[in-house]
């Protein structure tokens, strides 16, 4: 009888501590990230997105610069790649909205995971909050990768590994060894999303990226149409690319804005204030704002009414 009682009491104590550990995963009361977050587009609006060769502010190493010279955007039209989706590194660049919600354990209400919903060409990102470890380095990789999160003084900090090799900011490369740290920091109706991307293959130092978001009570259009493959001008089995010296877009940004090619190519040196001294005698400020056809279609040089308001 005594032995049974002792065993029951011991099990109760253990269960108590396990329960206590689970409580630690709960969202701090009051910090709510659930809902629809809309990109403000005050950063990088109509910039790198619309030129095929623009790596301004990216600490690319020599391998990445060589990759960039050979890369053709038409690869996205390959039948094999049309539905490949961007990796989770796409989120902090602000191209897609952030619909966020949490998955909870039904009995205790503790948060098992936060989810950043997918978009037209982006896979959802699941942020595991239950303390599970990252898989082995040899585990399969995916577009979304594997992400864990912790609350760091009321800021949701996430860490992503196991992403497949893909594009960085739609232009540059990242390898399957790339990792990403994101911080979701809410200030009233504003969400500051800052990211750090490390890549031992293509970046010579971490790339910091941030975007500003605003809460919207109107559900975002996630354009969740199933991806279907169609002919977009590239035949199956071919890989569009440029041979050395044949990339026709290399000079475009320099011609448009007078920024020297060495800066357009990116590199760690170009992100520091002292780099301006090297630019001073090489930069030629255009007399007026100019834009290529793609930029013009998206609003050109901006102006009144060009930045869409967030509807609430």
């Amino acid at each position: 009888m005594m032995r049974t009682l002792c065993a029951a009491a011991f099990a109760f104590v253990v269960a108590g501590y396990v329960g206590f550990a689970q409580v630690n995963n709960e969202v701090p009361e009051g910090v709510e990230l659930s809902g629809n977050w809309v990109s403000r587009n005050n950063t990088e609006f109509n910039t790198n997105l619309h030129r095929a060769y623009d790596f301004l502010g990216m600490p690319l190493n020599d391998a990445a610069k060589a990759w960039a010279l050979s890369h053709s955007e038409e690869q996205a039209s390959e039948p094999e790649r049309q539905c490949a989706f961007y990796t989770s590194t796409y989120f902090p660049f602000g191209f897609a909205p952030l619909p966020m919600w949490k998955e909870t354990e039904l009995r205790t209400g503790s948060t098992v995971a936060w989810v950043v919903g997918g978009w037209l060409d982006v896979v959802p990102m699941v942020i595991w909050m239950d303390g599970r470890p990252h898989p082995s380095a040899y585990a399969p990789h995916s577009a979304s990768g594997f992400t864990t999160g912790v609350w760091e003084n009321d800021v949701l900090t996430t860490y992503t590994t196991h992403m497949i090799a893909n594009l960085l900011h739609r232009r540059g490369p990242h390898s399957d060894l790339a990792t990403m740290t994101l911080r979701f920091s809410r200030h009233a109706d504003i969400l500051s999303l800052t990211g750090r991307i490390d890549d031992p293959v293509y970046l010579s130092e971490p790339l910091y990226v941030s975007r500003e978001w605003q809460f919207s009570s109107v559900p975002v259009n996630r354009s969740a149409v199933p991806c279907t493959v169609a002919y977009e001008g590239v035949r199956e089995g071919t890989v569009p690319h440029y041979l050395p010296g044949q990339n026709p877009f290399v000079e475009e940004t320099t011609k448009l804005w007078g920024i020297p090619l060495e800066a357009v190519q990116g590199g760690a040196e170009t992100i520091y204030p002292e780099y301006r001294k090297k630019l001073r005698d090489k930069y030629v400020r255009p007399e007026k704002c100019v834009a290529n056809a793609s930029e013009l279609a998206a609003g050109g040089c901006g102006g009144p009414g060009r930045v869409a308001p967030v509807i609430n």
Partner: protein, 253 residues
């Protein structure tokens, strides 16, 4: 029996531990008075910091072309003012620092030197334009006075969630008014003297030991902006001031 008593006691302790912290405090507990200024600092913002220009590079590292407003929710009045931008005129009237005011200085390629001037004043020096900002803690809302490039900044340590008494969960919020009219962008995109700047400073420790500071800046201007203009600056802490390089304001570069 003694063993049984001990085990039951342990179980009671375990049950107590399962209670959420809020329940332990009980309803009606007096809210803690949170210290302000230097004594209340949840993190140490002092030291030398360098900006990392990894976004909006073409607007920040070089002066963009006249008429380039991309990304700024500029109003018609703002466009009219920007289209009239004349750096020669700014130089002639001693207004070379119009792009170095509070609403744009933190977004520039610059280094910061942050120090406590006293227990209630956080001082931020920039080497770009050689500017000084003073963040005043514990002061009432700014009263109209002489306008300056850096304006009047009131600072608080703000919790992200209501009633949170945790010191570490606070960020630095700075509200700046009484600024002289200036430029959001070197090419004359304006903000007016009625603009209000709200900034949130967050510090983080990276896995590799790097300390980063992110500054979310929100500019409200009823005249020159159609809606709020929000940008985020990245700063990395430096070991010392060996790269500190003060430069004067420039209307052209």
């Amino acid at each position: 029996m003694k063993l049984l008593t001990s085990i039951v006691g342990l179980a009671a302790i375990a049950l107590t531990l399962q209670q959420p912290a809020s329940a332990q405090g009980g309803r009606g507990a007096a809210p803690a008075v949170f210290p302000t200024g230097k004594p209340g600092a949840p993190f140490d913002p002092t030291g030398y910091w360098v900006s990392l220009i990894t976004n909006n590079w073409r607007f920040r590292m070089v002066p963009p072309a006249k008429g380039d407003y991309a990304g700024i929710p500029i109003s018609m009045a703002g466009k009219k003012a920007a289209d009239a931008w004349d750096p020669t005129q700014d130089e002639a009237t001693g207004n070379q620092c119009k792009h170095y005011g509070a609403a744009s200085i933190m977004y520039q390629p610059t280094r910061l030197h942050i120090t406590w001037q006293d227990d209630t004043t956080l001082r931020v020096d920039t080497d770009a334009g050689t500017q000084t900002r003073l963040f005043q803690f514990g002061k009432p809302a700014a009263t109209p006075g002489k306008r300056t490039w850096q304006g009047n900044s009131v600072a608080i340590w703000e919790a992200r969630r209501a009633n949170n008494q945790e010191k570490s969960a606070r960020s630095l919020k700075v509200t700046t008014t009484s600024m002289l009219a200036g430029y959001l962008r070197k090419n004359g995109v304006p903000y007016g003297d009625s603009a209000v700047l709200t900034e949130y400073y967050d510090l983080f420790q990276e896995r590799d030991g790097t300390t980063m500071m992110f500054v979310t800046a929100v500019v409200q201007d009823p005249v020159y902006l159609e809606q709020r203009y929000i940008v985020i600056s990245h700063f990395r802490k430096e070991p010392d001031g060996s790269k500190w390089d003060p430069t004067p304001c420039s209307a052209r570069w």
